[in-house]
Symmetry: D2
Subunit: 348 residues, 4 copies
């Protein structure tokens, strides 16, 4: 309450809290009175209270999110894919591939190299949210078909982005993990649909999103019954133009203390610069990430998007060997590599 | 180019620019060589160039947006509504109303007061994007019907938000202006659909969006043939928790120098605090805004959302008289008030 | 407390609060226990409590600042200068002048024009904090002497920046207001010295400073016995490079609700662009600023610093007439202009 | 140039560049003309050009800093301390100790444990810049004497912060490395004095400083002849209140590509939370940091400042063993530990 709140104003707040079905406990102080709300079940309409006269500030002691919290579920969520990759089980899994699917040759060629280097999940955009309407927007369903072909050939699981209801339905049909990108992190309509789609979801942090915002967006997925959610730190908006975004790796241990959901990092978008991807990928693993998403292109100089932040295949192989040592140093290990091609079964 | 770029690397950049169909002009310097790209029509694939070895940085001298720019169209865009309100014509127009439509009594009652105070456009959310899945999500189509009823009664035009394809189609059917909210500013699929819908669009700046990002999102609308676009500054993400967002009023003159589109300000979301809405609304007009969007609620203490930032009707009336003087001081004027109720015709 | 805090941990917090001499009041909740600290006099060592096991978060209900707060002093502080200008008394005062003092002709010439347009305080840097060591660093004491000469000639009061102990002592000797710049807002040693110097202080907000940080820095001045403090919003660091800084005009009403100190705005540094200074100066007055600080240069194209953000004298005159109307519209007025030159007495 | 710049305006820019002693090269484009400035030696007064009519934007192709750049000096700077620690030589060195020196027992006790765990540099504040005037401000010279005693006993080098000319002179007398804190990063007067003092300087990045700002502040030190500069990333201001600051680890590889100076990370201030210090310290090493600065307190619960972010000695020991493995994984190694106490000589 404000320091000059009247007794009547304090009473009004108490009454409103009672009306909403909770217990109010005034805590008088030297300068002002605070009013505790007891029994908050995460559904309090704070707007009603905030609007009362004499209210200085609403301080949330309990969080607004529920099912994503550690308090709701103590043990970590483990997302298990058809090819055996488990995310969140103390193993570092790697999603790698080009920014965009461009051709059969490109995606299948790179998939083989990535699988051989130890990646078990293939990324590749078929629907691309681009800042400019004049940029390449992706191959659409044809791209999804090529991703499925690559899965058949290599046994890798597939992660790719959905941007609207139509693309979501297609992505659910073809991919193993549905990606919701940073720009759609608060596209709540899309989140709800993804929550009902029955496939694991990779939810990327928005550029202006706090960790709490990210967790609340994930709550949309869990509230629809989908507990197979993987979070992804990919950089927030910063003031320094040296990098494309500001990769907030501290979000990894912060999320791990607040939530049971696994979290990975995307240093490709997080930095926007090829030469910074390798050190920041290593740093993410050292910070405790459950995995990485890395852009690798067979020929970055001719990539149709994000070439400047895509690794050369050679660089990716070197990175994989470095992070294996780091994972071990902190008591984790790498996801087991996929068996040689002959044994690869097409995943669901 | 990097200072240690080789002649071969410089040649590769020149060749790539030529391949893309533009002229390359190397500009040797003391420390490094710059390469100018001549003839940029806004469609250059900078990714291809950025990915080349030896490239330090791409500096965009021309902008990526085209149709929204002052260079494309010198004279200001004026958006004209059915009830005669013209936005962008040197008149300050005011969109006011509750955060959410809650009942017939609420929306029609407040509409009369707002109209009488000089507002010509009624706002009210029927589809609410909420950070938490457990918050009130709006009345949906029933809310739209109530807005249409309020229009019939008062002659005000209607602006309300669309959040996905379904709600967009409904909003187009009922409203005069389709609002795309901050969280959907880069929902490019929704932008394209709004661009094709044939109704004026109010596009709010995203919380992490630069002015350039905002203009590029508007470009999606114009690229689909919809030139009736109104931009809205509503606060970006800041580091100070005293206010909900950081209202960036300088964006108003910045947009006006770069683009021919009108721009208004939303100090209700921009500050999140009722007591700050009035000074910042005045400031927005003084900065040259073409209009305001203001949340007013007949009874903020019982509002179902955003009560803490909603003005009391009395405050709104006082605000209107203050901004009229400010508008005049800077050579603008207020939009003419709507005629008394008897004469009001139902708009579009 | 954390939700899994043990009774022993809760006891330890209670004990520590008692050891520190305050009363502890545990408030059990459904999910966790909160512990209120009663009797906070602004001197609690929160670090000691925060360090205890089981503590999730310290929530400050009372503020850490005291003497600058509205709760300490209800009525506004009015800073009165020798030439009669009163800052904080419901009048808009204008500090104007070049970024740097460059020559006698420059500073005296411009001072006459500014005084004639209604400014009563002359600004001009003699000690310049520059990001690069190779930029012009100011004329030093010679610049101060020229400012004093301009005061003698025009009757204007003088405000100029001090950057270290030596320059502070000199500035105190020559100027009417000592400016502490944004980069030194948390140079606490300089603040203490300024607090003891007995001259009014203009304290600019740092680029990463919250309003609370600004008020705590002002508290250093008041704690040394100097109550003549004027705050200044001059833009914080933002992510959009269209402007040099992000002018946070909402800080004006926020400061006014929290503190009794006057606050002005500096749209020259706040935007960094001449064409944006005029609209943002108007906006600052409309937001309730007690004054403005504006860079004006007789010949911006040859200015030794900040030419791009300096107004032409003509523009300044136009601005003065616009803000006079705005001040009146919101129930304020302009500071009375200084009498014609013959009557001007040299100020203290 | 603006797209509507006249030939006369273009000429004026060319003339001004020539007046300043450089060559101007106009580069006509389809939409606008760019003008290249050839021969930039880092001393161009961009303000003069920016102020001209028709100028849209100044784009710096060469950087404003010189001596700190990789282009000025290709090989890395190695800062060598009296006890043999070399910073920047491919070895990870660790500066550890309490936030503040509090007593002889405290500082000497902890120094022994830190030395035994492998730290070779002891940190401890004697002059504390505190946001609030009512917080503990440090022991002053008595604290420095205790640090010197700890050096005698353990052989560790000493790093401690200077906040003004007086404390700088004292710190130079007692310490091996002079720390300039984040709040003083642009206290240029203090930087110049530190540049002339002849001791290595640890320069922390300011909360709103870009990497370029940091390098320009370092340039002040080198311009005064002091090449023994160590940079430190310690978190910038972010919008998420989960952590005290936003640790920008990408700044490490960015600095390394732009400058020859070593850079370390301070995850204690960077996160503000004990539980986040360990993962972020590991991440900093994985990102390529030349060292770490870590707050460790024998009894964090009774620390006089920053207790919540101080490690327990046990945690520090565990951290040291983890980062040793990570350093090796990326081709670096830990600085050799100091010899047992009997052999320790008092350092300079």
């Amino acid at each position: 309450m404000r320091h000059d709140a009247t007794a009547a104003e304090i009473d009004a707040v108490v009454r409103t809290i009672n009306e909403l079905g909770y217990e109010a406990r005034p805590i008088p102080g030297k300068m002002r009175t605070a009013i505790g709300l007891i029994g908050n079940d995460g559904k309090v309409n704070a707007d009603r209270i905030e609007a009362l006269n004499g209210v200085l500030e609403i301080i949330h002691v309990s969080q607004q999110y529920k099912q994503v919290s550690r308090e709701w579920r103590e043990e970590p969520t483990i997302v298990t894919l058809d090819n055996g990759t488990r995310i969140g089980a103390g193993e570092v899994s790697v999603m790698a591939g080009p920014c965009s699917v461009e051709s059969e040759e490109q995606i299948i060629g790179i998939a083989h190299r990535l699988r051989d280097a130890g990646a078990t999940i293939l990324r590749g955009g078929a629907f691309k949210p681009r800042t400019s309407p004049y940029s390449f927007q992706g191959m659409g369903e044809d791209g999804l078909k090529l991703l499925a072909r690559a899965r058949e050939e290599t046994g890798m699981s597939i992660v790719t982005e959905a941007v609207d209801p139509e693309s979501l339905d297609l992505v659910v049909e073809y991919a193993d993990i549905v990606q919701i990108g940073a720009r759609n992190m608060q596209n709540f309509s899309l989140l709800r649909r993804a929550g009902r789609a029955g496939k694991p979801v990779l939810l990327k942090r928005g550029m202006a999103a706090t960790v709490k915002d990210l967790l609340l967006s994930a709550e949309y997925l869990l509230a629809e019954g989908n507990g197979n959610v993987i979070l992804c730190e990919r950089g927030v908006r910063g003031f320094d133009t040296h990098t494309r975004n500001l990769l907030d790796l501290t979000a990894i241990p912060v999320v791990k203390s607040l939530s049971h959901l696994p979290i990975i990092a995307d240093p490709s978008h997080g930095t926007g610069l090829r030469a910074k991807v390798i050190p920041m990928a290593r740093a993410a693993v050292a910070a405790g990430a459950d995995g990485l998403m890395i852009e690798v292109h067979p020929d970055p100089e001719h990539a149709m998007s994000d070439g400047a932040q895509s690794l050369y295949p050679d660089q990716f192989e070197e990175l994989m060997s470095q992070i294996a040592v780091i994972a071990e140093a902190i008591g984790q290990r790498m996801v087991a590599p996929l068996p040689a091609v002959e044994g690869a079964a097409a995943a669901g």
